[in-house]
Structure formats: C-alpha cells, structure tokens
C-alpha cells in the first residue's frame, strides 16, 4: 500500500512561509535518509517544494474562483515536501516517518493513498465514464 509522508516544517519556516534551499548539513542528513528509503526498496517518489511565498492559491467559493499569491497569512500548516512510499502497513509507514531527521517543530504527516478498489462500485463506474473509450483492435 502507498503512503504519502508530508513534511510540515516547523519553527521559523512555518511562521514566515518563506525559505530558500536548505543548509548543507540538513541536506546531508536528509540525503542519507532518502538513501535509506531507496535501499530498503520502499521509495517511489519524493520532492522538496519551493516556499509558499513563491506559490499561489486558487480558492473556490460562491461559484467564483479567487487567486491569492503567497505567502498565505491564514495558513496553519504548510507543506514543505513529500515522499511517496510503498510499504506493507501503516505501522511500517509510521516507522519510516519516525526515522526522518526532522528539525525542532517539524511534523511529518502520514497519509494513505486511495486505491481504486477502496471506492464503491458506482464511484469506480463514474471514474470510467470520464475516460476515453479504449481503442478497438482485432489484434491479439
């Protein structure tokens, strides 16, 4: 089963919503952690995100869309990066999250990814409706 580990940076980063590339020491530790995930055969994908100050939010309310440029004053939690891992249980995902070299105040949130089989049949059927019909072919 797939889990996403979301890094929610704490401390100053959380307050300012602004950050540059992390310092060499932090990168070194994180690289080692990422290698451990790779060597254990569980890592599917990962990315570090640029700060909210360089991002934007599109919000939907009352039938209209509103674009707000970062940083976002009202945001309580901001995502700094993620790992997508493939493990056997939630416990295993939590164990991996607890090995992350997190800084003071950092939070790693562990969230399981929905599989198609998690949805009821009518939802699966609705998902199929939105897809292109498969090309017909006589070939084996």
């Amino acid at each position: 089963m797939r889990f996403m580990m979301l890094m929610l940076p704490g401390g100053e980063l959380q307050e300012t919503g602004d950050w540059g590339p992390p310092p060499a020491e932090a990168v070194g530790e994180m690289t080692k952690y990422n290698e451990e995930l790779t060597n254990a055969g569980v890592l599917l994908a990962l990315d570090g995100l640029q700060p909210p100050s360089k991002g934007a939010r599109v919000s939907f309310a009352g039938g209209t869309k509103k674009v707000t440029d970062g940083p976002f004053a009202e945001a309580k939690e901001i995502v700094g990066g993620y790992w997508l891992i493939d493990v056997k249980s939630k416990d295993e995902a939590v164990e991996w999250a607890s090995r992350c070299p997190g800084g003071e105040g950092d939070v790693v949130e562990v969230r399981q990814v929905f599989e198609m089989s998690d949805f009821p049949e009518d939802v699966q059927a609705a998902a199929e409706l939105s897809e292109e019909p498969p090309e017909q072919t006589q070939a084996r």
Binding site: V87, Q138, R140
Partner: protein, 422 residues
C-alpha cells in the same frame, strides 16, 4: 490497546531491520541459518521487552546488540566456533561503548555488501528453486512462515520444513557467505534475478478472485528488485528486471474487467495504467541501456513492454521495433514461445503473410504441440488473409487444446464466424 500499538511497531521494525540484522549476523557467524536463529531470538526479546520499555530510539542497533549477546552465549557452548568468540566480544564491547548512530555509520559501508551476500546465499544453486524462493521471502522480505504458506497455497509445516532443510543444506555444503565476483557473479546473478521474477509472476498470474490469498507477492518482488537495483547499480540486468516488473505492474488495474475476467494487453483501457510505475520502469530501462554491453533477456523484455507503455493507444504501438526486439531476444534465449511472439509482432508490423511465414516454421515444433496459442495465432492470421476454411480448422484445434472454458468458447465462436464467411 497500548501493547497492540507496540506490536504493530515491532512488526514494522522487524520488516525494516531483519534483512540487515540477519545479513550482519551471517557475516559474523558465517552461517545464514545460525544468523536467522539469532535474529529470531532478538525478536523474541524485543517482543518481551518493548511493550514495557517502549521501542528504543535505535531499534536496529538494539536488536543487533541483543543478537550478538546471544551469539556469544552460543559460541561459548560451541567449540567449533570458539575462535570467533574473542573477535565478537570485542565487537559487542565496541557496540555498547558507541552511540547507536556512530555504530550505524561504521556499519553502513559493510551492510550493503552483507545484504547482497545474503541475497546470493538465499538464491544459491545448491538449493532447490522452491527453497530459494522461500528463503528469499523469509530472510529478505521478513515474511513469516505463515505468510509464505498463504502466498503459495501451501501448508505451513511444509514451508517450515523447507526452511529448516534449506538452512541445513547451506550449512552442510559450507556455502561461503559472500558476494561472488567476476565470472562467478555472472554465473550466479541469473539465479537471483530468476527467483525475484518467479515471485513476481506468482503474484501477477493470480487472478483477481484469489488475490487475497497472495498478499502482495508482486509488491514483495518489486521491493526486492528495487533493493537489488540499489545494491548492485552496475548490473544492467538488475535494472532490466526491475524495469520489466515496474512496467508490468503498471497494468495491474487494467488486466481484469469488472467481473474479474482477464483483458488482453491490446484491449486494455490504457488510462488505467499507472503512470508513476511506467515512468519508473522507463527510467530503469534507461539505466540498463546506459550501462552498455548490450541488453540482456530481462532488459529486452522490458524494452518490449516499454514499447507498449509508450503507445497512448494500441494503434500507436511501434510493432517494427517490437519485432526487432523479439528477434534479439530469440537469439539470446531461443524458445518457440519467443518465436511465436515474434511472429505476432512481425504480422502487426509487416502484415499477416509475413507473420504466417514465421508461424509455419513453428508447426511441428514438439514443445508447441499442445500449446493452444500456436493454432490460435495461426487461425487469426489465416482469417486476416481471407483463408477462412483453414482458419476455422485452426481455431477448432486451438479450442480443443485450451484448458480454459472461457477461452474455448471464444475460440469456437471465432471458428463459427470463419465458417460462415468462408
């Protein structure tokens, strides 16, 4: 509830740490069987201790230190291994004196080699294929005897006995705990890759209906493949195998219809293919190609799978490249089944007459005599050429050979259609 939570954590720690633990202990003792027993002892100790004390900060180091203490006890009772004792006592002293993290760093360099040696030992040619698969799932996958038994629809005592016998064989034949090098590496790598691919296929071939009985064998194989790719990054076929598995696994959701019937590759709804796994597979194939030295059998199969993965719709498939890849595969590992696939690819690329020419050469091949796909492909090509009477005979012959009722009905239907228009 609290102890349940710790129980789950211990399972998770075991899954993550046990391969490294067993590998490190095998390096110390020179015996994989002894190493696994020691690791199990450490697990039992953790199950007793951790519910009260909580999971230690560095559970891997805790397990290793505990297992080494057991090893010393064992060695004291075992004269044959007496020489190792002093060395080990020193090591444990060192472990206890050092902070866990430093110990980890000190061991980091060796641990990769140890893990690789463990994989090669579990897949050693002195063992039967069944034993290789079982030991690999047990030692590298951290699966319990019960989980392995469930996966292979085998009784638990059978698996337990297989493990005991395999460990005894490794001990008795004095298989050295090491990563083979040079020519021996080239000789033994196919066995390792074969075991991983066999595990993959065991899960992949299971129909949706009994999937629940095979708890993620494909996932297990993918994980092993990814570990191998990290441990042996210079071996092109390791990346080739991983590429093949990633791309095949990407089609998992599209392989069966709503009622669980299989859907042929060209009829699959490609929007259900997993783009992440395709991307990973194509990247692994790139790595295999960049390493040079020509593509091996796994990389060639991955390259064929990649041709399908790259085609947005079935009609876009690059059949000429696929035909060329099958040609290369046929030269590397000749087999009538590969030839038959090549014939299909050639017919798709260059027309049914070209394909039929190749298929005709396979008629009379003893290993394909009872293989229903030969007359089935033959019938398909004949029908496309408008030779309906001959096509009908081939479809009827194919129907009489298949074991699958649904397929038989389909073939008889095609036979009937051919007769009507012929």
């Amino acid at each position: 509830m609290a102890s349940d939570a710790v129980g789950g954590s211990i399972d998770a720690v075991w899954r993550i740490e046990s391969p490294r633990l067993i590998a490190g202990l095998a390096r110390l003792t020179g015996d994989v069987g002894v190493a696994e027993d020691l690791a199990q002892d450490a697990l039992v100790a953790a199950l007793e201790k951790w519910p009260q004390s909580g999971v230690p900060d560095n559970p891997g180091a805790w397990l290793m230190a505990t297992a080494k203490h057991r090893a010393i006890d064992l060695f004291r009772r075992n004269e044959r291994l007496a020489r190792k004792q002093e060395e080990l006592a020193h090591d444990v002293g060192l472990a206890l004196a050092m902070d866990g993290a430093d110990l980890d760093a000190a061991l980091d360099d060796e641990i990769g080699d140890d893990l690789l040696a463990l994989i090669f030992t579990c897949c050693h040619p002195v063992l039967s294929t069944d034993s290789r698969v079982t030991l690999t799932l047990r030692m590298l996958g951290g699966l319990t005897t019960e989980e392995i038994a469930r996966s292979f629809l085998t009784a638990e005592p059978t698996i337990a006995q297989r493990i005991v016998r395999a460990k005894r064989t490794l001990g008795a034949t004095r298989v050295p705990f090491e990563v083979p090098s040079g020519e021996e590496l080239a000789e033994r790598l196919p066995s390792v890759l074969g075991v991983v691919y066999l595990i993959f296929n065991e899960g992949y071939a299971a129909t949706a209906g009994d999937d629940w009985m095979r708890p993620g064998l494909t996932d297990e194989a993918l994980r092993l493949g990814r570990i191998l790719a990290a441990l042996a990054p210079d071996e092109p076929e390791v990346h080739g195998l991983l590429a093949l598995m990633e791309i095949q696994a990407s089609r998992m959701r599209a392989r069966t219809d709503a009622v669980g019937n299989p859907v042929l590759l060209l009829d699959q709804d490609r929007s259900r293919w997993d783009p992440l796994l395709i991307r990973r597979g194509l990247a692994e194939l790139d790595r295999a190609q960049q390493l040079g030295g020509g593509l091996g059998p796994y990389a060639l199969q991955a390259a064929i799978a990649a041709c399908h993965a790259r085609a947005r719709v079935a009609d876009d498939t690059d059949w000429a490249t696929i035909a060329a890849l099958y040609d290369a595969l046929a030269q590397l590992s000749p087999s009538p089944v590969v030839e038959l696939n090549r014939a299909v690819a050639v017919s798709m690329a260059f027309g049914p007459a070209a394909g039929l020419e190749l298929v005709d050469q396979l008629v009379g091949e003893p290993s394909l005599e009872r293989y229903h796909l030969l007359p089935s492909v033959c019938g398909d090509l004949l029908a496309k050429l408008g030779r309906h009477d001959e096509a009908r005979a081939e479809f009827e012959r194919a129907a009489s050979l298949t074991q699958n009722a649904r397929e038989r009905a389909l073939l008889l239907e095609r036979a009937a259609v051919s007769g009507g228009s012929g």
